[in-house]
């Protein structure tokens, strides 16, 4: 991500530079409906979710049974598979970002 600011009126190189690919584009299909949370649970490692993972949540996707999502339960957000009788679904998990693997 850009930390240096390259602003102002046309720099000769502007418009020609080829940036590297953009993770936002890969991780977020619906920018206005995409939210990020941090997973700190221990029960979903079979689904590939580990404590410390950043999870990308898309609220624009219609929840279907079996999808991994964020569900409201007893005034708390819980990360789990959507079931038929799941309560209010905040959104569906569409991606995981795991850093600091070294």
């Amino acid at each position: 991500m850009n930390t240096r600011n390259t602003t102002g009126f046309p720099s000769p190189a502007q418009g020609f530079e080829k940036d590297t690919f953009d993770f936002n584009r890969i991780l977020s299909k619906h920018p206005s409906a995409t939210f990020t949370m941090r997973y700190e649970g221990k029960t979903l490692s079979d689904s590939g979710l580990f404590p410390g993972d950043l999870i990308i949540i898309d609220s624009a996707i219609k929840p279907k049974q079996g999808m991994l999502g964020i569900v409201e339960e007893d005034g708390e957000f819980i990360c789990k598979r959507i079931e038929e009788n799941s309560g209010i679904v905040f959104g569906i998990i569409t991606g995981i970002v795991r850093t600091g693997i070294l």
Binding site: N5, P10, S32, R38, F77, I78
Partner: protein, 428 residues
């Protein structure tokens, strides 16, 4: 057709998004420095709490009633506002943010269009996708759309002027509650026997001009379904925006940059003319929405928001932030049809919060002198005669990632759930 859309108890609704434990609980939000209550949800209003309550006076009462109190988290509200405007712009490029929680959206006048159905769809999507309840007023003019929005709060969130018993609605609506008619004008009108919107709609135009000036004249026209207010009149006390749709699709970054620079300059000029400075800058970038096919592959709507280290009316600072924001949302390969800048969280330039990290007095003096000189030259030789060509480093955050506004007293500030990676909600 004009849609006026606003978030219900917007600040309180934003605070609620990541706090499912607050469902059904009273929520109040305080102003800068935690002095005054500026927003409350319905549950809180039902307890008899009021907007404008002085917090130190009501603190005990709030505590006894279990009210959840928050400092205003403008970073969060601006981000949610940005998301809502992205959603609205999928329905029309002519989306005009009027304040942080309300927008006008202009839809093409189609024959046989079911505008109420479109309104319901926007409302459902806002709740499901952005988790904010909204109300939608639909009418042929801005003034009526705003009136319908107020009525929508009683009608389940949608109110379409065309489906109403118009005369009965107008007769039931106080003249003082009409957009653009303040308390003072309402008093003048009352003396003339005009008490309701119906009375005002039937008030002779020449008299309206005589007693209420040109704005009142326009209000009367608008009440009669005649558009009298400009589309791009975005100015109000909390928000200044400019932006246009392009005649043709624009693909290049530098072309967009030029357009953005021009609109930013216009917005800053307007803001400076009002003696205001802004804390938050938003940039919107959008392609056209294809109504004909289901193919969405060529569509892209996005926006980005940044909080300046301190309130500013200095064009190079604001432009630097704007262009940096555009860079963060620009994607190659789209035909862009509109770019828009929005300056939010306006405050009196003279009272603006200083940034402790800057040598304020010296840089302020210099900036003011530069900007006054620019204003003078542009006034004399035409707009855009002098324009920015500088590179300026805009600090949005301090080294630790926290924004530099700790000068303000905001003891009950909620996390920056959506804009700071260290603040994202934790789930199990």
């Amino acid at each position: 057709m004009i849609f006026h859309i606003d978030g219900n108890s917007f600040y309180a609704s934003c605070e609620r998004i990541f706090r499912p434990d607050l469902a059904g609980k009273p929520i109040a939000v305080l102003t800068n420095n935690d002095g005054v209550v500026i927003a409350l949800n319905q549950e809180c209003k039902d307890l008899g709490c009021k907007r404008g309550d002085l917090y130190f006076q009501v603190k005990k009462q709030y505590e006894e009633n279990g009210v959840f109190v928050f400092s205003s988290n403008y970073t969060l509200y601006a981000d949610i506002s940005r998301r809502l405007n992205i959603l609205y712009s999928e329905y029309s490029l002519e989306t005009e943010p009027y304040s942080i929680d309300e927008s006008f959206v202009y839809l093409t006048d189609w024959k046989n269009a079911d505008y109420s159905e479109i309104g319901r769809e926007i409302k459902d999507r806002a709740l499901r996708e952005i988790h904010i309840p909204i109300s939608v007023g639909i009418a042929p003019t801005k003034t009526l759309a705003k009136m319908c929005n107020k009525l929508a709060k009683k009608f389940g969130g949608i109110c379409n002027w065309q489906e109403l018993d118009r005369n009965a609605v107008l007769a039931d609506y106080n003249a003082a509650d009409i957009w653009g008619i303040g308390k003072r004008k309402a008093e003048i009108l009352a003396r003339l026997g005009v008490h309701t919107a119906f009375d005002l709609a039937n008030f002779p135009l020449d008299k309206a001009k005589k007693y209420l000036s040109i704005t009142g004249f326009r209000t009367v026209q608008e009440l009669n379904g005649i558009q009298a207010l400009d589309r791009n009149e975005l100015n109000n006390k909390q928000n200044i925006g400019t932006g246009r749709s392009f005649a043709h699709g624009v693909t290049g970054f530098s072309e967009l940059e030029t357009a953005l620079a021009e609109y930013t300059q216009l917005a800053v000029e307007r803001m400076r003319a009002e003696g205001s400075a802004c804390r938050i800058v938003s940039v919107y970038l959008m392609t056209a929405h294809n109504y004909i096919t289901e193919d969405r592959s060529g569509e892209y709507f996005n926006a980005a928001t940044a909080e300046l280290p301190s309130s500013s009316s200095y064009l190079p600072d604001i432009l630097a932030a704007a262009i940096r924001l555009m860079r963060s949302i620009f994607r190659d390969g789209y035909e862009y049809r509109k770019i828009m800048i929005n300056l939010i969280a306006l405050e009196d330039e003279a009272k603006a919060q200083p940034d402790l990290f800057c040598d304020n007095e010296a840089s302020d003096k210099k900036n003011k002198a530069v900007m006054s000189a620019c204003d003078c030259i542009n006034a004399k030789y035409g707009r855009g005669c002098i324009h920015p060509g500088t590179r300026n480093l805009t600090k949005e955050t301090k080294a630790d990632g926290k924004k530099a506004d700790w000068i303000m007293d905001r003891k009950m500030l909620s996390p920056e759930y959506t804009t700071n990676i260290n603040d994202v909600p934790v789930v199990h």
